[in-house]
């Protein structure tokens, strides 16, 4: 196997983790990873050095954005099952809270936050993935953190008032 393919293969577990957190659904996440891999492997000849990891994150982020756009155009298909079985079985009580909090974020904010805190990318790398200046990454990150904090602090009246 070429070095390129070995590097792609080595990144798959991290891509699955990122996709799972992005979509919060294991089937959709793995479909997304698969599509990312197909794109990447078809484009091997287009890849001239650089960081394969960032490049794969970029492809996945863009594919997910396309997916959400196509869902938004036809909201009838309820593909996002938020009662994904393994998620419900999660032992940590806060797990579902953070999951719901992530779900309330704007897509760009969620991408930025997850790439930084879950995937450990630097601000500069995230800026490359998102194709924006570092300042924009930082403001997305800041807004994401404010939003999650508000959500976890009880800013979710629609869910709490239902009794």
């Amino acid at each position: 196997m070429s070095t390129f393919r070995q590097n792609v293969e080595a990144t798959i577990p991290a891509l699955r983790r990122y996709a799972r957190a992005l979509t919060r659904n294991s089937d959709i996440a793995d479909d997304l990873v698969q599509d990312t891999l197909v794109r990447a492997l078809r484009s091997e000849h287009l890849f001239h050095g650089g960081d394969i990891r960032s490049w794969l994150y970029t492809i996945l982020t863009n594919l997910n954005r396309n997916r959400l756009r196509s869902l938004a155009r036809r909201p009838v298909l309820s593909l996002i099952e938020d009662n994904d079985a393994p998620d419900l079985a999660g032992p940590e009580a806060g797990g579902r809270d953070i999951e719901r909090a992530l779900a309330t974020l704007a897509e760009d904010q969620r991408n930025a936050l997850l790439l930084v805190v879950l995937e450990g990318l630097t601000y500069r790398e995230v800026a490359e993935v998102q194709g924006v200046p570092i300042g924009t990454v930082m403001s997305r990150l800041a807004r994401a953190r404010v939003q999650i904090k508000n959500y976890l602090d009880g800013g979710r009246p629609t869910l709490r008032r239902v009794k």
């Binding site: 196997m1 393919r5 792609v8 293969e9 798959i12 577990p13 991290a14 699955r16 983790r17 799972r20 957190a21 659904n25 089937d27 959709i28 793995d30 479909d31 990873v33 698969q34 599509d35 891999l37 197909v38 492997l41 078809r42 997916r67 196509s70 869902l71 036809r74 009838v76 298909l77 309820s78 593909l79 099952e81 999660g90 940590e92 806060g94 797990g95 809270d97 953070i98 999951e99 909090a101 992530l102 936050l113 997850l114 930084v116 805190v117 879950l118 630097t122 601000y123 930082m138 990150l141 800041a142 953190r145 999650i148 904090k149 976890l152």
Partner: protein, 264 residues
Amino acid sequence: MIDRDSPLSEDELHAYVDGELPADRQEAVIAWLAAHPEQAALVDAWRAQADAIRVRYGAVADEPVPERLKVDQVMWRDRANGRSYAAMAAAAAIVAFILGGAVGWIAHSASAASPSGFDMFTAEALDAYKLYVVEVRHPVEVPGSERVHMTQWLSKRLGAELRIPDLQSIGLKLVGGRLLPGPTGAAAFYMYEGPSGERFTIYCANATATESALRYRSMDSAAAFYWVNDKVAYVVSGPADRDRLETVTKTVYEQLDKSATRKS
């Protein structure tokens, strides 16, 4: 850069949490936070968020990577399925044509978001196909002569009202069926046989989606068409002859649709 006495920028607090703060600012930020408990609490909250995210999703990277996501598999299937997008679009067009304005069918383009069950169910169905299609003496649990009993039994086990299509019109005889374990519980599996011994199978299981587009996949010497209708996923599998499989699928679909119409 801000000097020691200036209030810190919020950016610096984020950079501090994310380990991106230049080493020479580290001390200043720590000292400043010690004197500003409100901001220190904010920093703690951000850290707790990051921890919760890592606790929730970190372990995904330790899970074994599914076969279908391995580089060799992805490349092989990408090559093998070169025709599949065209096939899917063609098949979806056929079915859409058959149904006309029938309710409940969405013939979306192949580029639309994939139904999450597609890979899961086609993989299960193709495995079952490959496993049982070579069986000479015990291909099924219940023989085709007991169609009524089998329909009731499998419907009960799946908790869905199943129909077992009659494919005599295209020269396929019902060999029989069996119950299989599936990703969503019980799955029903019917086998048909043609005059020259060619075998086709239909796999039915409960799906989370209500309906989906028709999709095609070929794998080794077998191929399958998949769709979801009324919360039941169907996978029609057979030898990798797309035209023949398309004919069979079309007939199966027509049969199921007719029985659905009769029911209502």
